[in-house]
Symmetry: C5
């Protein structure tokens, strides 16, 4: 008897009473659909390669150089030619630059041709892999970096750069046609560049470092935006959803910090690798990069503090505006309510004569005084002045 014949084995529901019965949310089919979609791809064999839905068609570039010569070409859709070229020029140093992942068979061929582990390839193609370094095949490195940018849409954007070193090449993967590595390509193109004289180990370092170097302007742009938000708080008109913006930046800074943190660990791990894998003369550079990573972390933490202060400022300002509203209400009410009482007083109908025409001299004689009204006006004025003086002394009248 095979198991699949048996009826589906369902567990009876077990009730766990909630601490407090929140009223049930209205059922939302969208939410349920989204939830089920999330659990779909779970449990695939580790090392199973999957291409994300929004990946780009891969383009292949090759830069080959030694101290004296240099050549570069695009090999998109010509992967075999690329391999041939590599095989024919074992004496050159090569940078194979793959941009875009959306061609599973190609990715699998690259994986096999360059001796990569399926789990590594999974890290390359996956959604998100924090910065790390792995040694494989005894002396090859697998380096993951996260490239950041503070976009014109005012958020931090990050992309992954995956590097594999080989005896005479560096193989890089990224899922973007445009990147921040152009400056490095120009350094290779330049004659007499140090980069061309040095080993591919140095090229791998240079690629890692240029990504790290981008952290500073990213942070600076965030800092600039934070100052802009600070100015908004004190602006005449409170801007709509300012707090939401502030908290969004905070999220970005926290996310950025989480990007940089593993970068620091990566660097320190590289520094602890034996000299056979990363030679001492390259480690000098990684030590410098390590310093930079620490300083970027420091900066990110400063920014996080700044943003918390900003949120405090915002809330205090909000409370301040409330204060002002209350003051206006209090001043106007306090001035006019007593006045209204006084004029109400003299609107009363106490009779000055009784039904028989006898004068009742105690009933509101003020109304019959020839200067009653002017005196009353003066009294009202006096009340106003006293109150204004009181508010002025309290400091409520200056526009703070």
């Amino acid at each position: 008897m095979s198991f699949t014949d048996s009826p589906p084995a369902t567990s009876p529901p077990r009730t766990r009473p909630a601490a407090l019965d929140l009223p049930p949310l209205p059922p939302d089919p969208d939410r349920e659909a989204r939830r089920q979609a999330l659990f779909q791809n779970v449990g695939l064999r580790p090392g199973t390669l999957r291409i994300n839905a929004d990946s780009l068609k891969p383009r292949l570039f090759l830069m080959s150089y030694d101290e004296k010569s240099y050549t570069e070409d695009e090999y998109t859709d010509r992967y075999d030619e690329l391999l041939t070229f590599l095989r024919e020029h074992p004496d050159l140093k090569h940078w194979i630059d793959v941009r875009g992942y959306d061609d599973l068979p190609l990715m699998e061929r690259i994986m096999q041709d360059f001796g990569l582990h399926p789990l590594q390839m999974e890290d390359v193609l996956g959604d998100y892999q924090r910065a790390k370094v792995e040694v494989f095949d005894d002396n090859r490195l697998f380096l993951v970096s996260r490239m950041t940018d503070f976009t014109a849409e005012l958020t931090v954007h990050d992309d992954q750069l995956s590097l594999f070193t080989g005896p005479n090449y560096v193989l890089s993967f990224q899922d973007d046609y445009e990147d921040c590595l152009e400056v490095l390509r120009n350094r290779i193109r330049a004659n007499f560049s140090q980069l061309r004289r040095r080993s591919v180990s140095y090229l791998a370092y240079a690629l890692t470092d240029v990504v790290l170097d981008h952290y500073y302007p990213t942070m600076a742009a965030i800092g600039d935006y934070i100052e802009e938000l600070e100015t908004c708080i004190f602006a005449e008109k409170s801007q709509k959803r300012l707090l939401a913006r502030i908290l969004r930046v905070k999220k970005d800074v926290v996310r950025f910090r989480r990007l940089v943190y593993p970068e620091r660990d990566k660097m320190s791990e590289i520094l602890r690798l034996p000299d056979e894998i990363v030679p001492e003369e390259i480690k000098v550079y990684y030590r410098d990069a390590y310093d930079h990573a620490i300083q970027a972390l420091d900066l990110a933490e400063s920014y996080r503090d700044s943003i918390s202060s900003l949120a405090d400022l915002f809330l205090s300002d909000q409370s301040n505006r409330m204060n002002e509203v209350m003051k206006v209400l209090t001043i106007i009410s306090s001035i006019f309510i007593p006045l209204s009482f006084v004029v109400g007083l003299y609107g009363m109908n106490f009779q000055h004569e009784d039904a028989h025409g006898h004068v009742l001299p105690l009933n509101m004689p003020e109304l019959y005084s020839p200067v009653g009204y002017p005196i009353l006006l003066c009294v009202l004025l006096l009340i106003v002045c006293i109150q204004l003086y009181y508010f002025w002394r309290k400091g409520w009248l200056n526009n703070d």
Copy 2:
């Protein structure tokens, strides 16, 4: 004389005056009863097996496979047959899958037949055991994982999966008939699956990994719900008990983080085990799982930050709504209170003639002007306009 004869030895009450005398809570017999129930089962011999009240009747499943053949069957209530089958097929790899615990004698037999320690069995059957790994009998592993799910009721649900490895089998325990391991069973059922070619060590890894893989969609579903809550904050009508919901999710995220944290430690402990117990080629996979655990932790911390921000937003929004209430009050009061004073003023009864018919020209001559009333109406309108202008400049009139 035996001790049990002596009268109960009670201590005189010792008074510890509270710092501040809170008024005593009304006595609540329920609370007291619940409290006493809690202290009931304390102090049993460690390793004493107890079945929780809401456990399910156990069902037994067996999958047996090698590279070429494969068979599966349900052995519920046929435990002896299962043992016989195992004994008869020492060359196959077996996955014995126990679902439900509510049969103490069976559990004890399994414990003895498979050489488990009573303390381990107690961990299996108990309420809650954080993820961990234990080596026993020199080269067997006891692995505890926590399976998570974000249920349609919008909370994180977690269950325990306990694994024991043996020379040619994996023994798994869980207290649920439905689980997240079906995908793995299908991988075994598939011909030529890598899983069938590899050792049971790899099966144990695969079971551990599939649980870990569920953390991502769980987090994603939480993230989805957080965004839904964020939208609610800015919705026109404040939803009831929104903060309670936000704080409940926070609790879930914190709990989730506490589930994942030991998972990371488990992985790193496995990586430090000698290669005789976990072979190097399996460790490569655990290293990958370790990375995933760290990233799940990162994500959980991001979510915790997001929720804190959400609570801040909610409170600021609450204060904002208060502000709006105050503004409406202030605008209406500020406009009408002065007007009321003015009309009260002309409701006064100052007499224009004294008792003898003499005109008192200073007493409210306005009332006798032929255009007194129209002028007054204009004055009132003017006052309103000035105030509206003032409020408009303050920015109180736009519906911000």
Copy 3:
């Protein structure tokens, strides 16, 4: 010349100006007296035994057992008999159970007879000693545990259990006649109990473990109370001093966490002790206890988070109630203040005729219209309706 002859050497007062001159508190002789009492007992020779004022008269109990026989008795005021019994039965395992400390000479005799260090005895008798383990005399253990309980008065109560192991006995101290160890005594009393077959090392473990086992129901009772408080927050009537209660529980949870934390360290220290002191087969049990301690810590931290959330909920609810008060004020004021203005308007005394009987047609002709009053009432009703509609659309009228 002896020093005591010299006049008292007093230092001239040194002024340290406070940052902000807070007005001096009214002198409070009580406070001063309490302060001086506190500094009284300082500087005694370390290892000086002192009995706390609220200690109980000591009662002595002895349980003696081996695999086959078992006897127990109370030896209060018969300490010498107890010693004799111990000397006469070197082959039995003994549990000497001292409850209450208030007999200094007895305590000192016990200290000497059982080879305890004065500093250890000071820890036993003192106010508070965190959980710890000490090895002395090469292979004896001194174990301190803290027994907890969530009392009917809704606070965490904790007491100290001090254990000394010897070659064939365990000596325990506690300052309470009733304890949580009765379950253990019953296990000893039971025939064929594992406890009776095992060494006194195991008895020491069992005593330590039963204390640890009490942490779970203590936490559960706290959790239960927290849920009760959560319900109170949303109850119709705010309960008096709810926040004070919440913060008191928080204090308890934090205190509880501080009790458990050293317990974990104690367990991990025991696990690191050489096998000669704690045999491997006992360490298996301590490893289990270590797991439990970690989980209790986890739970305590969860509760701390829950309570912080609770306090946030409370404050938000407080602000919510304020909001509601303001809404009632705003609705009533906003409705009636304009109405009052209108009726005030038609209470003005502008004259319809001048002194000479000429009609002044512009002065409040409405008052002379035959339907003036009914129209006015309609206008008033209309104003009310418009305002109610506005408030209803704002969502202020539903009882949210």
Copy 4:
């Protein structure tokens, strides 16, 4: 040409625009003067001895003892005699007790005669040195402790006690004539005291321990004051600047924690010293002191939590009082504003007859009803009752 001839080299000012232009503070010559004074003494040669302005004239005391004999004397202004006495009694144990520093030449002589390093002496005389231990001359100890007290002015006061051990003496420094060591002196004076039988290592320990013992009553006094403040919060009248007081205590507790923290490190460092420097039988005592330091830290952290809770309570209470103010306003306004409208309604002057004497029956017929006024009064009373019932049901009328 010498450098001092060159004109002063000043840098051109570099402008760093502030993020937000805060209005400049009014120039404050005092502030500037204070600022410059602070930077005055910077850059002196390390090890340069300086006496603080508020130091006391030094007084010298000597206690010399062995198991049988004991003598003490004050040697103020007789330092040479003290040295002679020490030289003549190499077999006694000495405690040289220096109180007050204000005699630089004397301090320098002591430094040289007792072989202290100038940097150590700088630590002794300086403003503030955290608790620490240093080994010098291979087997001598330099111990710094901080003595604390909770003064009658309700703040934590701390002073420094510096100890140097020598072959047969302990040299102590403090800048106060009165101290907390008197209890120790009495223990030395007592015949048969253990202190007199033991080495000077033990004396150094005893001095360190007595300081540590003072941390408990200091904490207890703070705890006492915290409870007093808690009572104030719930007192009928809010006390002036209560929050400032609460935050001041918090500052004190945090400062205290910072005093104790290095004390713990000091103890653990002593425990790690080789047995030649601190013999094992003394380490037993230090281990006890280490426990005490940890518990003092625990307590300090508990208090910090308590104070944070206190501040929360205060703020909630403040908001509560606001709530009450608002309730009074709301109740009174809500009751009387509608009433005022009604009476205003019947103060209108709609005419019951037109100019020609025709009755306008629709214009306010109520005013002509014989029971108009009594009915109106009843209506008003009814409105009040309805409102009071509404407020009572809301729970606003009980004095909560």
Copy 5:
């Protein structure tokens, strides 16, 4: 085919829907321009020297000394003479002091002549390098310190001091003509100064230490300013933007803490260096400096706590002022609104006679009483008194 001929490879935009659609910010060309400028200099070859835009023209100073002789001179624009002098006096100890960086060729020459690594030079000239120590050429040190000052503009200013040691010289770099090292120069100028007798290792220490010594007055000045702000909070008139000031100081303190933190690490790293590089007799001094760094950190953390308390105080005070505003409104409204009702009551026009002249005795007979008005005035007074008494008992009338 060369790569540069290919058309620019642009990626199609990938949409990531934001969680909540915040309204887009108005486009701001400035912001965009600033953002692009930030990303300009990224990716230069590591070790590429760049001079910051606001650097000063370099000035060169040389102090040369041994125990007996001493000479100093400015060598600005005479670098070759300086080198010659150094070469001619190998027996003297030299301090080469470079102030200002704005001469790239000179900087490169110095780098080569003194054997510095380009990465080190980059650290010297760069924007910001945290304090650190590096060993190079086996026994030379590269030390970076951060000099701080609390300027008259009430912010913390920090500058970098970079030091390189050589066999007989110390080479220092800073980008300021004025510095805090003058006191050290004077110590060198002084005859018989210890500094002149000791090695250049000690000079390097002294330079590091004098920078560290500046941390204390910097902190003290911050502390002074914090107290000033505390006074402002309780001042009669709330100062404008006080919270912004408080948060700015907080930022400064946090930044200061971040400056000092690596200083501590630097010191502890120096202490771990082998004695060949930093001799033991110099380490004694560094150990002292290490203590100072820790205490500066302690202080910085104290200040951070103080400032948080200050912000709490400010917010509580803000809420307090609100409270006061509300009280004034409540007192005035509560007193006058009932009075207004009463006088409104007697302003009603209920007729005392019907159209036929019949008296309607129930209609407001009070108005016809001869003492109606005086009685009414008394009643009003009574109402006022009752209310004042109520407010006085609530404690609302005393000026808090």
